[in-house]
Symmetry: C2
Subunit: 334 residues, 2 copies
């Protein structure tokens, strides 16, 4: 049999309420009775039933991390880093994290609202949401606390933490330029995500600023996926005018590209310079090591969690929009 507050109360000859007061340290209880009750709690090894407590308190101290329902998600170092930041912060605030995989292709407007209504969460952090996700607007109409990560969306009711993606792409192109490259191609990321779009925009903008040539055949779409990038970057080698450098919207794509370049017996950085984006763990280890735009992924997670907790505890109100700085990490690939 499970020990409940009632068992404690009976044994201590008090009411359940007094026990509850002792457990929560709220309200007045005579030191003596408190002492007695505490002793019995220890003896019986009582632990509060969180479910019962949540049913009345309406709070669970659990936050949900919404992730796309994809196999082997944690093998993506990008996700692992962000999640690491979130858990680190949750630890400090004594919140638990529950992982909620949602179907990427689910186009329903209530996909997130359903989760909210289940009442299991105090708040949620959404990872890798797409631009036209129909679930976000309805969610923002509720009062439920949530934060988007690496997704930029200016709205009075939406909170997000993102990196300066446009700036990052500009930095990358600038760097390639300073290294003497002039024919700069791009493996773009997913245009369904704001960061994918922003990085492409930054690339194009900087080409213009520097008066560099823009060519459609120099832009391919890797969708932030290594296998896609590996396949698509093939097109760059079939261009009428061969690029001498490539800005990749993420490191996995850059790694795929380097593999392809090697297969073609070309050299990095001599024949083709490569810059990535993110600074995942591998970036430092691939050969040649990868010059990349570092975005502070762990910080992104920490920041999102902090904002979420502020929202939950109502110490801050929406909208909270935060952009973190990026920096160029020069390695061997340029």
């Amino acid at each position: 049999m499970r020990i409940t507050i009632a068992d404690i109360a009976k044994k201590a000859n008090v009411s359940k309420m007094t026990v509850s007061r002792v457990i929560n340290g709220r309200g007045y209880v005579a030191p003596k009775t408190a002492e007695k009750i505490k002793k019995i709690i220890d003896e019986l090894g009582y632990q509060p039933n969180l479910i019962a407590r949540s049913l009345v308190s309406k709070s669970t101290k659990i936050i949900g991390v919404i992730i796309p329902k994809v196999e082997h998600l944690f093998l993506d170092n990008y996700i692992a880093q962000i999640l690491s930041g979130i858990t680190d912060e949750a630890l400090k605030k004594d919140y638990r994290i529950i992982l909620i995989p949602v179907e990427y292709s689910d186009k329903s407007e209530d996909k997130y609202i359903k989760i909210v209504k289940n009442r299991l969460l105090d708040g949620m952090i959404l990872l890798k949401t797409i631009i036209d996700d129909p679930g976000i607007a309805p969610l923002s109409e509720t009062q439920f606390p949530f934060v988007l990560v690496n997704h930029k969306r200016y709205s009075k009711k939406i909170n997000f933490v993102d990196s300066k993606n446009i700036r990052g792409a500009e930095l990358a192109v600038e760097h390639l330029y300073s290294k003497g490259y002039r024919k700069i191609a791009c493996i773009a990321g997913s245009l369904h995500e704001t960061n994918g779009k922003d990085r492409l925009r930054g690339y194009l903008k900087k080409l213009e600023d520097l008066g560099l040539e823009k060519r459609d055949e120099w832009i391919v779409f890797g969708e932030f996926r290594k296998s896609v990038a590996y396949h698509e970057c093939e097109k760059l080698f079939k261009a009428k005018i061969l690029p001498d450098a490539v800005f990749c919207a993420d490191d996995y794509s850059a790694i795929a590209l380097i593999e392809k370049i090697k297969e073609r017996k070309l050299r990095v950085p001599e024949d083709i310079g490569v810059v990535g984006f993110d600074d995942i763990e591998l970036a430092e280890y691939v050969k040649p090591s990868l010059t990349t735009i570092r975005q502070p992924l762990i910080e992104l997670g920490i920041s999102a969690a902090k904002i979420l907790f502020d929202l939950i505890e109502e110490t801050r109100k929406p909208p909270i929009h935060k952009l973190l700085n990026v920096e160029l990490i020069q390695r061997e690939s340029t």
Copy 2:
């Protein structure tokens, strides 16, 4: 105002019970009433309150993954892979995963029991538990479903999934031997974990079988931590007789060792052969790429989750002890 089952009932002119029956698809309800109720549910956007449901059903469809309370845990590719396996399987069975960090140094006997009593979980998977963890025995005395991962403990009340660590270590030494190495050292893992102990045992056993020399100065302790291994492996270079190969109980230690070897201007594999253990993502990318004993980490997670779900659904009973095969992956470091 939140929509509850009572609202639906009132609007449909039925009792709460009938609504409940429709929602759960249990018991008889006239097709017509069912239809009507379903329609109202849709209209009002009703979603069941999981908390309330759990309070009575005693089941939450949530499993806990117990992890040591360590910063940046997910950056450890070993953890990330196992977790990936667990989530993949949980997805299929429609269970949610909650992360429960526990203090590594907590020596209390009720550290896990407390969590169980909170009634938030249907079962749990424990990662990186130590041999003398005082919390495990008491937990096993309850009927609560749980599985240890990469921890071998034969007991009628304990379930685990582990790799064949002893065999793996033997494979590694055999391989080094076949490559002509004769002075084989070892960076051992944490002896607080069964897999650390087993790998050391396999190493020693195989040295004996092959009639190779054993020297205390050829064994250092890396505790499964790169920074520790990096520091400790220094001792190997101060040995009276220098080893010509090193079996490392984990890949991070092997990577640390390779860094150290390079700093000393020695060559891998010519001067020193190196074998790792785990086959983390990096193993393939470091230079030289790492020969290692691959343990199926994702499978380990999948397997643990499968067993746990069987335990929860009572289709199997403890004890369930499972050992997965390991294999040698030859790369450039030997």
